[in-house]
Symmetry: C2
């Protein structure tokens, strides 16, 4: 199909498609003349993926570019998949972190102390730990009263979710990368919606049983 | 304190504070002269809350305005709290929805069919249901393979989270509104970070036990 056909198939304006091409988010079509190119189903799928990541996943186009680069990296070891996926989303180009010295005192913050108590096998210098620290502080600033006990209760549920996530990763490295990267971004909005619906269900169930 | 003091206490530039005042996100200070006003700790807290909602919660200033309006609404019944909170976040000014006719066929989409099977006490016309439908479709577009069984597994975890959420809502209506509204927005990033750390922990634990 021509670019106009690609625009029609995806609902994305030609000007935006041209922008994706310039930014490397969309691979070039097969040139049929000096000014024309032919696009196929792989282009339709790629455009849909970019839209899903930006509109549902809420990613910036810069982050989408990093995510796509990770998905297309052919030489990623299976053990590197999760780290590469999470880094692509954080926008952090981390250098290899040396193994943690277990003697090192790392309970610098409440978040570090809580993580140490939890016994999770994560690197305390991981940028996601900073994310958690910032998010927890924001809850404090808003007076939400998120204490360690409630954090542990949320962490139990997060472990349950993580097991589902990790179980769904296929054995082939390429497919694994795709699953981890896209699953991390695109399942977050699913979980946010499920949480709100489950809140409604829980609140209504209690009202009903209180009245009944 | 003067506005310059408020800027120093919060780390937010004076120009931004003036913008918050104009938009009604920050209440006026006590006028001490025709061009000067005095600000207090309530202003510091409000500015921190606005920053937490925009920077950590990722809300637009327009949504922050609606969230603050709900928090300050004095005449909200306890049973209306959850709906008002969720609407303020969605930016939907819903009119009262008539009670659902149980005879009405509402399995128009896979999401509706799945919800009906799940038995959650939620209104199928709730905008959050559309959010879930859109997020699920985005997962399909990306080829993530999120089927009904996996959705049910995520929903089990979401129920666990919702029980923690609902248990943390205090009895006084004003405090309840604050908890529900801010807890919904600001705990999402906490849960997203916990999910990523739990993924790492789960993946590393499995590697360790596979090697050991």
């Amino acid at each position: 199909m021509r670019m106009s056909g690609l625009a029609e198939a995806t609902g994305v304006p030609v000007a935006t498609l041209k922008y994706y091409l310039r930014e490397g988010l969309l691979h070039a079509g097969r040139a049929t003349s000096r000014t024309q190119a032919e696009y196929d189903n792989s282009h339709v799928e790629r455009v849909r993926l970019v839209r899903a990541l930006t509109e549902v996943g809420g990613l910036s186009l810069a982050t989408v570019g990093r995510v796509l680069a990770v998905i297309e990296e052919p030489n990623l070891e299976r053990t590197e998949v999760l780290g590469a996926a999470q880094r692509s989303l954080l926008g952090v180009d981390r250098v290899a972190i040396p193994p943690r010295d277990v003697e090192e005192p790392w309970a610098q913050s409440r978040t570090h102390a809580w993580l140490a108590g939890r016994g999770w096998l994560v690197d305390p210098r991981d940028p996601v730990v900073e994310d958690l620290d910032r998010a927890w502080s924001a809850c404090d600033a808003a007076g939400i009263g998120l204490d360690e006990a409630r954090m542990d209760a949320y962490a139990d549920a997060a472990e349950q979710i993580a097991v589902i996530d990790v179980d769904s990763v296929p054995p082939e490295p390429q497919a694994a990368v795709r699953q981890v990267v896209l699953g991390t971004v695109l399942v977050d909005p699913v979980l946010a919606a499920l949480r709100r619906l489950a809140q409604q269900h829980t609140a209504v169930s209690r009202e009903v049983s209180a009245q009944g």
